[in-house]
Every structure is written in C-alpha cells, then in structure tokens.
Subunit: 107 residues, 2 copies
C-alpha cells in the first residue's frame, strides 16, 4: 500500500477502530491489520504521533493503565470524535464516488 494514498484517511481509520471499545496504540495497530485482512501494517512512528494529534484536536481522550507490568495509554472516542468520525465517513463516501467517476467514467 502506497503510504501517500493513506494521507488524510489515517484519522478516519484510527477513530473508527476505537469506536466501540477503547484501545491502546499497540492494539490499534493490530486491529487495523486484522480488519484490513493484513493489508494495513501501519508503523508505530505513524500511529503514536497521530493519536496524540487526535487527542490534541479533542477527538480522542487517553488515560494510562498498567496491565501485566506494562504501561498502556488507552484511547477512547470523545463525543466530538464521534461527530468527526461520522463526518469522515461521509467524506470518504463522496471522495470515492468522485475519484471513481473521474477514473472510470461511463461514456
């Protein structure tokens, strides 16, 4: 998967993966890999800064937990994040529609 293709869609992916259950960074990466059938293997250098950015934006909230001696920062979706995710889904839908129409026009 070409990294550039993900530009501007990473936020939606991250928000959607914590929609129904709070997850920590490492688990988020695994969830993305599983949901995509292995196609998405996002490096930690992408995910951790992105999560912090989304928290700064108010879409996520985090708290520390210690599980089995290991520290985790667990992220959950805020109300604002939930609204954002809905908007991202709509945007994704119209995005694919527009690009699809240009790429494969039925003449």
């Amino acid at each position: 998967m070409n990294p550039d293709a993900l530009r501007g869609h990473m936020d939606a992916l991250l928000l959607s993966v914590v929609e129904h259950e709070p997850l920590h960074g490492y688990a988020i990466i695994e969830a993305l890999r599983e949901r995509s059938g292995g196609a998405l293997d996002v490096p930690t250098g992408t995910v951790y800064p992105a999560l912090r950015r989304l928290e700064r934006a108010g879409f996520l909230a985090s708290e520390w937990a210690t599980v089995g001696g290991r520290k985790r920062r667990t992220y959950r979706l805020t109300d604002s994040g939930r609204a954002e995710l809905a908007g991202e889904r709509t945007a994704w839908s119209s995005f694919t529609s527009v690009i699809g129409r240009v790429l494969n026009p039925q003449t």
Copy 2:
C-alpha cells in the same frame, strides 16, 4: 475536498483524463472539474508541476502547439503511462476496498 485526501491519487486522475485524447494543462483542469461534477477544482500550482513529473517519469509526452495565438503544451499518454494507469486503477480498487472494510466493518 480535503487536499490531503488526493495525495497519491493525483497521478491516476491526470493520466485517466488524457487517456483517450491529448490535452493541455488548462484543459486538463477543466476536464477534471467536469468529470467530477464540479467537486474537483485542482489549482494550476498542483497540475503543472505534476504533469512535468509524470513526463519525467515517462508516463506522459508533450509537445508545444499554438492555437489562436496562445501557446499550449499538449500532453499525451505513452505506452508506459497506459500501463501505469492500469496499475493505478487496480490499486485504487483495492485501496477503496481495504479502507472501506476498516471504516465500515460488517460484524
């Protein structure tokens, strides 16, 4: 349309628009606008450098023409570009499939 969303897809858009007829930069911008129903309004500062990049890559070839006293640089798809476009279409298809599955998983 969020500019970042287009990242990595611009090449496919440009190649697809000159697939069946050579066009010059200005006309390419108009064609993108028309094919997208007005949703895509790509600035010249994006298109002209991108076209040059695609020519350097061997996917497009250009020649100058003068029409009505105005100079145009007309771009046509090369054989290599045609192959690239086919690849981009396949990549687009799998890209939307993967992101769509993550964004809206049917549980």
